[in-house]
């Protein structure tokens, strides 16, 4: 394989000893800053009797407390910011419309670093200045669209901010007419496009696509092959999360054997989610990330909830950054569906909001023809006074689906099932059935 293109060769192929020095410098300055500026960390470090002056190497990070999603929720909206709001140039947020969302602020320098990271991601994937990049991700509080957009412009590509339009025909017409060569979307949206092409009777060879960058949900091998075949593309998988930065945390190079983590911006650990101790290198565990360049929203030892493993072996592409494997699961019950992450408890809350009391329910996730589907089965309760009124029941069903769509941005099928048929699931086991391929 040819030595692949690098956006920032100096950083991406930095010798490990140089990288280590850079990491400890940046880690120490980040810790000094969060201790001075973020009440949460000052309290947490003091409570754990952490003496930052004693933190002399990156591995000493394990002596520091974790940051959890719950911590971030409690700090809504701005309590985790390390700079005054005045210095924040942009705000993104996680969706969590029912739960409390996590609000993330970026300073001007943060935006620049983000641009750098997504530019690296795109170049690693093979995007070049002559490419026409169609970004079919939401441009909203959701960090995906904007994050990739900045990087694509930085790379010098021609960028089409198509966004995630519900009008598939329009998306496809843009792709065909504007001669897009690179598609950036969630895998499910990719599958939708495949279906749309069939419907519109457009042969994929009439498109100019050559490359697809996917993120936001699991890209299984089978789905990957399907997309590559049906869209005539090479596919590249990426990893990112809003709390840490958005897209740009990690991504595949053209070797496509793991995601390179931008280690000059993030320190990565993998821990056993039960003992909370680091696992041996190469073993599977929960991904924990520490930001070391962020000014606005620095996070120390953030538990992502994602299960993965690290591969420190040198990569043929020349990058010295460690690679993480594709996410194989979650430590909690978060459901990742078409780029949106949510919890069963959120669904429950919505259902309860419609019905008045918490109903018994089950969430069924499947993949049909490459498209992820979600069905929410709700047990008809004795409290529903109109058991026999089909119309009223139907109205209730529609209302539930509508609220789920509004709150979670998820198109779910809602179905009623017999009374007492789901009651045994109340303990939680079997409440979510995910038969999608991994």
């Amino acid at each position: 394989m040819d030595r692949a293109a690098l956006y920032n060769a100096r950083s991406e192929t930095m010798p490990r000893d140089e990288l280590e020095q850079l990491q400890i410098e940046r880690l120490q300055s980040t810790l000094n800053r969060v201790y001075r500026n973020v009440a949460f960390y000052r309290t947490a470090f003091d409570a754990h009797q952490v003496n930052l002056e004693r933190l002399k190497q990156v591995s000493a990070l394990r002596e520091l407390p974790f940051t959890t999603r719950e911590d971030l929720r409690k700090s809504y909206p701005y309590d985790m910011f390390a700079v005054p709001l005045h210095d924040i140039a942009r705000i993104h947020s996680t969706s969590g419309t029912t739960g409390v969302p996590i609000v993330v602020g970026y300073t001007r320098n943060d935006l620049r670093a983000w641009t750098e990271c997504t530019a690296r991601l795109l170049v690693a994937a093979g995007v070049a200045p002559h490419d026409v990049v169609q970004i079919a991700l939401n441009y909203s509080l959701f960090a995906g669209g904007f994050g990739i957009h900045q990087g694509a412009e930085q790379v010098g590509a021609t960028v089409i901010p198509a966004s995630l339009t519900t009008n598939l025909e329009k998306q496809i017409a843009i792709m065909r007419d504007f001669k897009a060569t690179v598609l950036i979307s969630t895998p499910s949206h990719g599958v939708n496009i495949v279906a749309g092409l069939e419907q519109m009777q457009i042969h994929p060879e009439r498109l100019h696509l050559r490359l697809g960058l996917f993120g936001g949900e699991r890209l299984s091998d089978s789905l990957r092959h399907q997309l590559e075949e049906q869209l005539r593309i090479t596919s590249i998988d990426t990893y990112g999360l809003t709390e840490i930065m958005g897209p740009g945390v990690a991504g595949e190079c053209q070797v496509r054997d793991g995601f390179h983590i931008n280690e000059d911006h993030f320190i990565v650990e993998v821990i056993d989610p039960r003992t909370l101790e680091p696992v041996a290198v190469g073993e599977e565990g929960e991904l924990v990330l520490t930001t070391i360049t962020k000014e606005g929203f620095p996070l120390i030892r953030y538990r992502t909830g994602d299960i993965t493993q690290l591969n420190p072996e040198p990569c043929p592409c020349g990058r010295t950054f460690v690679r993480m494997a594709r996410i194989t699961g979650r430590t909690d019950d978060q459901i990742l569906f078409r780029g949106v992450g949510f919890f069963p408890s959120q669904v429950e809350e919505i259902l309860a909001g419609v019905e008045g009391t918490s109903p018994y329910y089950q969430i069924i996730l499947e993949q049909k023809g490459g498209i992820d589907t979600i069905e929410i089965r709700v047990e008809v309760s004795d409290k529903m006074p109109f058991l026999d009124e089909v119309k009223a029941l139907e109205a209730l069903r529609v209302e539930m689906a509508k609220r789920i769509k509004t709150a979670l941005d998820v198109e779910a099928k809602v179905a009623f099932v017999e009374p007492r048929s789901l009651r045994q699931l109340a303990g939680g086991k079997g409440r979510v059935v995910d038969s999608r391929p991994r």
Partner: protein, 243 residues
Amino acid sequence: MLKILNLEAGYGPLRVLKGISLHVNPGEIVALIGANGAGKTTLLKTIAGILKARSGAIEFDKRQIDGKPPQKVVELGCSLVPEGRHVFSTLSVRENLILGAFARRHRDNGAVVTELEQVYKLFPILKERESQLAGTLSGGQQQMLAIGRALMSKPRLLMMDEPSLGVAPLIAKDIFQTVVRLKETGLTVLLVEQNARAALAVADRGYVIETGQVVLEGTARELCDNPEVQRAYLGKEYKTIDE
């Protein structure tokens, strides 16, 4: 070229540096900014071997230099231009410069003469005042002399402590231009400067030091764009701060 890890140093019971880590790549100008008493001068003195490190490591060109005496550090190619210049006022300009080559006294004398010529080329005024007593020079000229003296040891890393202090603004500008010219000749520079704006204008990267710890690291541009640096060190936005 220079790599510092978890450096601690101080004076008597006073701990000034509380675990500083930083590095300087070959050919770079790296600026250290921070308020009075942050520990910038202490850091340079510790690198130069004038102060002893209490813990931590200083590596210069992959060689451990902490614990080495100052003259050894100079011999290895790391020279300091001290704050307040400290020229020998009762010696002539030429004598001051030649003293700068003291570390190389056992070597080729011809090389010292070549070096002298180079310094005179860099600062023609020193050539004009060659036989004048250093104490009679203006502040700016003394600063040039101090830089010239440091260059006489033919360093690869030049550490400068407040080169613009007590120097007329126009001369200060000259001095910073000289720093850039030195960089162009391949010299690596570690620059401590109260005038953060001027330092960041010539630097590639920088570190912000507060009470003996690094609180910010980045390219000069990143530091210039950091609102906190702007408020604290660049004197911007005074009027709009209402917090």
